[in-house]
């Protein structure tokens, strides 16, 4: 009994101790409501209308029905998942490898760290345009270099089978620096005691990595996977700058399908697509985050 009333006392004191009255939050609440809540609910409404920007007609769930009938939506969904898996998977593997390399005693460590982080700072559209030029099938530097070695380079962005993968690889090039930095923080945070204990037990380098580094980096891995997976699902800027979803529809993702509806003037349909994308990301990422975090809790 005494315990319970003590807890109530503490809670009461915590309430009183708040230095700011409730209405101090009002300006922030107004800004949040005007800039975030209102557009969100407006878009939920407009996704149910046929909307020309000049006027809108309420048509119920027709837009959603049409969106799911979109011939390239299924391929776009698969492409989005493929892209998200390739890019987040490679970022995890390469980011981890680079982080371990860059935390060991190697020459020019600081320089290499900044070189790897540099692409993160460059504008995505700039990266996209640069690589579009580099990957040109006949005049691009990549294929010209390959030709000097006697290899006939593929049409990186013009071959329907390769286009999506090429863009995903550029995404990895651009994003791996951020993953590396997160991993470096994770590696540095591992207490040296574990490695000393492992050395006494006679662990090899590989065992060190497998049984000490890898498990203790799980929080960093969870962060990298969540960030890059969400990024991959929403990917748009790089795809648009490099292929515009093409050739044909070969590298269309959900976001580019949505943008094309908007371009064609189907504003309601495109808004419905955004609602679908929002739900899809929530449905995929919320369980993923819970899964990653639960495992971490059991360590």
């Amino acid at each position: 009994m005494a315990n319970v009333s003590g807890a109530q006392d503490r809670a009461g004191r915590a309430r009183k101790r708040s230095a700011y009255p409730g209405w101090f939050y009002l300006p922030a609440a107004i800004i949040y409501a005007a800039l975030f809540l209102a557009p969100t609910f407006a878009s939920l409404y407009f996704s149910l209308t046929r909307w020309t920007l000049f006027d809108s007609v309420f048509i119920g769930f027709d837009n959603f029905a049409q969106f799911f009938r979109e011939p390239f939506l299924v391929q776009g969904l698969l492409n989005t998942l493929t892209y998200a898996l390739i890019s987040s998977g490679l970022k995890v593997v390469l980011g981890m490898a680079l982080a371990i390399m860059l935390t060991s005693q190697i020459v020019a460590r600081g320089y290499l760290r900044s070189v790897i982080f540099f692409p993160v700072l460059v504008s995505t559209v700039g990266v996209g345009i640069t690589f579009t030029v580099l990957m040109h099938p006949t005049q691009g530097m990549i294929n010209e270099t390959l030709a000097m070695l006697g290899i006939a380079g593929p049409g990186w962005l013009v071959d329907p089978k390769l286009a999506l993968i090429s863009v995903a690889l550029v995404d990895v090039w651009k994003g791996v620096g951020l993953a590396t930095v997160i991993y470096i923080a994770g590696v540095v945070a591992i207490p040296k005691d574990y490695y000393e204990a492992a050395r006494i037990d006679g662990a090899t380098k590989w065992q060190n990595f497998l049984y000490v580094t890898l498990p203790l980096m799980r929080p960093a891995t969870a962060t990298v996977i969540t960030l890059s997976f969400i990024g991959g699902l929403r990917t748009f800027d790089l795809i648009w700058a490099m292929t515009k979803g093409g050739p044909g529809f070969a590298s269309d993702t959900i976001a580019s399908v949505i943008y094309k509806q908007y371009q064609a003037g189907f504003y309601g349909l495109s808004t419905a697509g955004n609602v679908v994308l929002f739900i899809l990301i929530a449905v995929l990422v919320v369980p993923l985050t819970m899964l990653l975090n639960r495992k971490q809790g059991h360590e």
Binding site: R50, T52, L53, F54, D55, V57, Q66, E70, P71, H136, P137, T138, Q139, G155, L157, V158, D159, P160, K244, G245, G246, P247, G248, F249, A250, K260, Y262, Q263, A264, G265, F266, L269
Partner: protein, 429 residues
């Protein structure tokens, strides 16, 4: 801003010369804002018009704003109209896309303006809504067909084809001689549509009521053999291996350069590309000729034509009298003269009294017979029907790159058309 001031000064300096000419008309004053697309020709001609107009009306200042072309540009135009922030004069599509900017609600009717007496009726029909005319022609009429490189034709002794089979035979000869037979430029996807869109004269020759039936949901590309042929023709050219090796990545600018300099023999394109050749490769302008896309029958060989873009005035223009006066200037013989000097002649004008200069480039003179009395021409489908599916260009890239066949492409396009028709709220869909 500095530029406007400088040009205002320049305008003032030639005022003396023009004083007698402009004294007859009431002089305008005020500030005029203009929005046009970022095509090099559009910007060049707008600037030339603005200079000429300011020379006549020294009290006028003109600001030209530039927007992107394509779907992004459409959205800028719609957004600015919807928010009441449109420039006093803006250029935009005529035909099917024109209906999508709600002209009766957003635009100022120009039906009773005196200059409309000189504008061709065929143009007025594609800028009219609810019984009112809203636009004035921004450019000459265009044709859709095949630009070809004359030196290659001379080298191989080829004749201008009047049937599709002759065209394919020419392609074979050109390929055997080691040249690129057909240029495709999928780096700019819109360029993929020409083989299908410029085949429409041949469709109408076989099915004169295709456009009405198409709008009424009674005729489909996949089930009409005549309409399907455009898709099949693209597939045939692709399968024969006549395309340039970098077709997937080449851009419209590459295609224009290639056909002008003989890096390829044929480029299916709209004739406004003649202006781009004049701009980027003027020395090669005389090497480029033009012919309509051939069909099955030499007897019924004719040209699919495009009516030009239009200039419009929004309903809430800040200075409507000045805007109308400027638009009347564009749609006058004087305006055409300015155009001829600034970007050259690219086709027949839609305004009575406008003359083409005597020395038009060969590609333009090749096109004129189709427009003359007794010439064979028909408007493109987008001027006969409000429906044009937005994904046609991507679908045709798939056909051109061999990842989809003509039959399934036509069926897929019919799906795309259905979506557009439903979004436009057209009855019977």
């Amino acid at each position: 801003m500095t530029k406007t001031k400088t040009s205002a000064l320049m305008g003032a300096s030639v005022l003396g010369m023009l004083l007698t000419a402009s004294a007859v008309q009431a002089q305008q004053s005020g500030n005029l804002s203009i929005l046009t697309d970022n095509g090099p020709q559009s910007v060049a001609i707008m600037e030339a018009w603005a200079e000429a107009y300011k020379a006549k009306n020294p009290d006028v200042t003109i600001d030209i704003e530039v927007r992107p072309g394509g779907g992004d540009g459409d959205n800028i135009v719609k957004t600015r109209l919807a928010t009441g922030a449109m420039a006093d004069v803006f250029s935009y599509n005529s035909g099917s896309l024109f209906q999508a900017i709600n002209p009766t609600q957003n635009l100022m009717p120009l039906t009773d303006e005196p200059f409309q007496d000189n504008v061709q009726e065929s143009f007025k029909t594609v800028v009219s809504a609810g019984g009112e005319v809203y636009g004035a022609p921004f450019a000459p009429a265009m044709g859709g067909g095949i630009l070809y490189n004359k030196p290659i034709y001379e080298e191989l002794g080829l004749e201008i084809p009047t049937t599709w089979d002759e065209f394919m035979a020419n392609n074979e000869a050109i390929k055997e001689a080691g040249h690129v037979a057909v240029i495709q430029t999928y780096g700019d996807t819109w360029t993929s549509q020409l083989f299908v869109l410029s085949d429409f004269f041949n469709v109408l020759a076989e099915e004169p009521d295709f456009a009405e039936k198409f709008t009424a949901n009674e005729a489909k590309f996949a089930t009409s053999p005549a309409a399907m042929r455009g898709f099949e023709r693209l597939q045939a050219v692709a399968e024969a291996g006549y395309f340039n090796a970098d077709a997937g990545a080449a851009t419209y600018a590459d295609g224009v350069r290639m056909v002008a300099m003989g890096e390829g023999a044929h480029y299916p394109m709209l004739t406004f590309a003649i202006g781009a050749i004049a701009e980027t490769a003027p020395d090669y302008l005389d090497d480029v000729g033009f012919f309509a896309q051939p069909g099955d029958n030499a007897e019924s060989n004719g040209l699919t034509t495009w009516l030009p873009d239009s200039v419009y005035i929004p309903q809430n223009a800040a200075n409507p009298e000045l805007a109308k006066d400027f638009v009347a200037f564009l749609a006058s013989p004087e305006g055409c003269e300015v155009r001829n000097e600034a970007v050259g002649a690219t086709g027949p004008y839609m305004v009575a009294g406008c003359e083409l200069p005597a020395d038009v480039p060969p590609a333009v003179s090749d096109m004129l017979p189709y427009f003359e009395e007794g010439g064979q021409n028909a408007p493109a489908l987008e001027f006969l029907s409000p429906i044009k599916g937005p994904a046609l260009e991507q679908i045709l890239v798939e056909v051109g790159t061999g990842s989809r066949d003509a039959a399934s492409a036509a069926a897929l396009y019919d799906e795309d058309v259905r979506k557009q028709a439903q979004q436009l709220g057209i009855a019977a869909w």
